[in-house]
């Protein structure tokens, strides 16, 4: 009575496909940050543009923002640059830059040449602030909510797909539009 085994056979095929699907699913969260769900480190760093102006975590409270860790020496950051400009252009969420282990002159020239996607850039030449955030390679991008809690950490250059699938859905704008 082979026909009574048909449902079992179909089910086995479906299971194989589903198992494949799980392993194909994007696994960016394999190296999760222990800071996710925790308050972001509070900081007060000199602004890249003007050393007399401070970029502070307190001033950023009350708004969603993306903290993007970058440096002129980082190749992946150059790859990411057009996508950051596109995100800035949408106006969905402000980008805050953390210029990491860099020289001020080079960083300013870089932003002038490639375009500046950041609302503000904090300057961290010694890399001490980045340690607070648990950064181990650039680029890294943190989603921070209005309460100052780190919601998500994205590792590597942001691609249009990563923006659409990993970052935007975690922002209120992405949730409210229902996509």
């Amino acid at each position: 009575m082979i026909r009574y085994f048909v449902p079992l056979g179909v089910f086995a095929a479906v299971v194989v496909l589903l198992a494949l699907a799980i392993h194909q699913a994007p696994r960016k969260d394999l190296v999760p940050s222990p800071l996710i769900g925790k308050p972001a480190p509070s900081f007060a760093l000199p602004s890249l543009a003007d050393p007399n102006v401070k970029v502070t975590s307190a001033a950023l409270r009350g708004h969603w923002y993306l903290l993007n860790v970058w440096g002129t020496w980082c190749i992946s950051c150059r790859i990411e640059s057009p996508e950051l400009l596109a995100i800035a252009h949408t106006g969905v969420v402000p980008l805050i830059g953390l210029d990491w282990k860099d020289s001020r002159a080079e960083a300013l020239a870089y932003l002038h040449q490639k375009g500046n996607p950041y609302q503000q850039v904090a300057f961290d030449p010694g890399g001490l602030e980045a340690i607070q955030w648990g950064v181990y390679g650039a680029p890294e991008t943190f989603i921070v909510n209005p309460q100052g809690i780190i919601v998500y950490k994205y590792i590597g250059p942001i691609t249009p797909r990563a923006w659409a699938h990993d970052i935007l859905p975690r922002l209120p704008a992405g949730q409210a539009s229902g996509s």
């Binding site: 086995a12 299971v15 799980i22 194909q24 969603w64």
Partner: protein
């Protein structure tokens, strides 16, 4: 302290579920009476522990304990008490707790309902339910524990996702889950029959009320979800073929096939193995749905927070629960011989076609659901399957089904023929065609071919359903509740088909820009934009417009479409204003300010749209009425008879 107590209670519930499964399945198999007798206390204990656990989570929400991660992420001190409780099922972990709680409620109901059935059979039903409870509680504890603490605690919570802050949210998940979980009871009955290796007409009679009530809850749950999406998400549609909607729709289609197939098994002792398979597949599809929604394999509007590990766990659980049932099925089903044959024109044939068409429809939905996953898994790239696929394929199996409904209802069992109702049905079809064409061409304009046909079918189902009750009333014969329930459910179906066609074919929709004081006409109504101003709610601010609607010079309604800005989460939502007039549904959504005093609005007039949900609720009501029929309330003597029948099977 309270969250820890909740977690501890959940761990105890896990242990009791394990005992319930062990005693229920192994006890009867080894003939250990004491083990078998211990199942019911395990069920009671599990229920108490699960209820305690859920109570603790609710208490944490009510007390605004933001040291509990789940509470902090899904609630806020500004949230009204009602939504603080409803926030429990606002995200993944808490909705699992709700699921487990409802499962243990159904288990208690099953323990009470099977108390008069043969003891070994009842124990096996509860044992199978115990394995399901065990799996879900373990899943919650290992991957999605809602009782975890935060260090340091947050000063205030993130708040509940605003699109979920609606009375519809409070009702939709619990009702839908009640349906999903109810299918577990039908699955457990099938599992017990497979373990016992025998199935007779009695079995179908025991199973039917459970399957039908699960189906009725599923129907209500899907209808509520659709209604909620219709007016909260402001999309203006009632069904989107969203992967998560499909995940609830597939078990519904299977459940519909199951309740019809059970009718044949009960009346005629036929379709036994088929009915078993449907009972297994109905619940299997709700498990597959759970997997698809929560493993992150699919991306949908309903996306819950996803973490790796969850997918693997559910998949393993799926393999155990469904695999075991289907393997047992492959082994046992060949022994379950049908008791008799039937003529081609008999009711059995119609119900067989009903089953084939419903299962086909379910298969096409399943294929559409799986296609993007398969494509991604095989590295063929991202693929999106939407209404262009679902609408036509679904229609291909559903239209013939609608033709069969009026005929099948009146066909006689076994011998076939329409029992002298042939002419009456033909007259009904004529009347329905007149109504269908009159509405499609007379009341509305721009009808194609499909809309009058579909409206005729809807009207025919309604009229044909009424033939039998009218006949019985005239001859002063009592109508059994099961028959009345079926009649009502089919009338609900007819109303649903008729109104859905009207909405699909004759909706008037426009985007307009208006300045204060100006008006516009749409779908026979005049919209006058009277003013706009700020509003203030408990945890939101926003803008609210005033729109006066008139029909042929007479006032219809003053509507207030609004945009809300929830200041905790900084999310803007659209609250469309909806009003009902003469069966039509008028919807006004406020858009953007266009500068110089102009605002954009979306206007929609959807005829008869409310009857889509009324039809669905009538269907569910019919189902619930049918299960109150006398024959499902077992008399003592009948129970003894049944026990005697099954005794032979247990003695082995």
């Amino acid at each position: 302290m309270i969250p820890e107590l909740g977690q501890f209670a959940l761990i105890l519930a896990l242990l009791l579920a394990a005992l319930q499964a062990l005693f229920g399945i192994v006890g009867p198999a080894l003939g250990r009476e004491r083990w078998t007798a211990a199942v019911t206390p395990a069920v009671a204990g599990q229920f108490v522990m699960v209820a305690t656990s859920m109570g603790c989570l609710i208490a944490s929400f009510v007390a605004n304990d933001f040291s509990v991660a789940y509470v902090a992420e899904n609630s806020n001190s500004a949230l009204p008490l009602f939504y603080r409780v409803a926030a429990l099922w606002g995200a993944h972990a808490g909705s699992l707790i709700l699921w487990i709680f409802l499962l243990s409620c159904w288990t208690v109901a099953a323990a009470v309902g099977t108390a008069r059935l043969p003891r070994n059979f009842a124990a096996r039903v509860l044992g199978v339910l115990g394995t399901i409870s065990f799996g879900f509680i373990l899943y919650t504890l290992l991957t999605s524990n809602p009782f975890l603490r935060l260090s340091p605690p947050w000063a205030d919570g993130q708040g509940l996702n605003p699109i979920l802050q609606d009375p519809g949210l409070a009702a939709h998940p619990p009702v839908l889950y009640t349906g999903y979980v109810g299918l577990a009871v039908a699955y457990a009955f099938a599992g017990a029959a497979l373990l016992e290796g025998r199935l007779d007409r009695e079995w179908a009679r025991w199973t039917r009320p459970w399957a039908t009530s699960a189906w009725a809850f599923l129907t209500c749950g899907i209808a509520l979800g659709s209604w909620w999406a219709y007016y909260t998400l402001g999309w203006g549609g009632f069904w989107f073929w969203d992967p998560v909607e499909n995940a609830s729709f597939m078990p519904w289609l299977m459940g519909t096939a199951l309740i019809h197939s059970l009718a044949v098994t009960e009346k005629r002792g036929l379709f036994k193995s088929w009915t078993l398979l449907l009972a297994v597949l109905g619940f299997s599809l709700s498990l597959v749905g759970t997997f698809l929604v929560r493993s992150g394999v699919l991306i949908s509007v309903h996306s819950f927070a996803v973490s790796p590990g969850r997918g693997e766990f559910i998949l393993t659980f799926l393999v155990i629960m469904i695999g075991a049932a289907l393997a047992l099925y492959a082994w046992r089903a060949p022994q379950m011989q049908s008791e008799a044959g039937f003529e081609f024109s008999a009711r059995e044939s119609f119900l067989l076609f009903n089953n084939i068409l419903l299962v086909t429809a379910c298969g096409t939905v399943f294929a559409g659901e799986m296609a993007p996953i398969i494509s991604n898994a095989l590295g063929l790239g991202k693929l999106s399957v939407g209404p262009p696929y679902f609408n036509p394929t679904f229609l291909v199996s559903m239209l013939p089904l609608l033709v069969l409904v009026p005929l099948g209802m009146h066909a006689r069992w076994k011998r076939g023929g329409l029992g002298g109702r042939g002419r009456a049905l033909l007259v009904a079809l004529g009347a329905a065609a007149v109504i269908g064409c009159a509405v499609a061409f007379g009341v509305f304009t721009g009808a194609g071919i499909l809309s009058p046909v579909s409206m005729t079918l809807g009207a025919w189902i309604i009229i044909a359903s009424l033939l039998d009750p009218i006949d019985r009333l005239r001859r002063r014969i009592a109508i059994p509740r099961a028959v009345l329930g079926m009649t009502i459910a089919h009338i609900g179906l007819g109303i649903f088909v008729f109104s859905m066609t009207a909405v699909q074919a004759f909706t008037a929709e426009r985007d307009v820009a208006l300045t204060i004081g100006s008006s516009v006409r749409d779908g026979g109504y005049t919209f006058h934009f009277q003013g706009i101003g700020p509003i203030q709610g408990p945890d939101y601010g926003g803008t609210d417009a005033t729109m006066v609607v008139t029909h042929e010079g007479k006032p219809v309604a003053v509507m207030h479409p609004a945009k809300r800005d929830y200041w905790v989460q900084h999310i803007a939502t659209t609250h469309s204003a909806i009003t009902i007039h003469g069966g039509s549904n008028i919807l006004v959504a406020l858009g953007q300010s266009l500068g110089d005093g102009r605002w954009s609005f979306r206007l929609q007039v959807r005829p008869l749209v409310l009857y889509i949900w009324i039809g669905a609720l009538i269907m569910a009501g019919g189902g619930l009425l049918a299960i109150t029929d006398r024959r499902y309330r077992l008399s003592q003597s009948a129970a003894k008879e049944a026990a005697a029948l099954l005794a032979g099977g247990d003695a082995r």
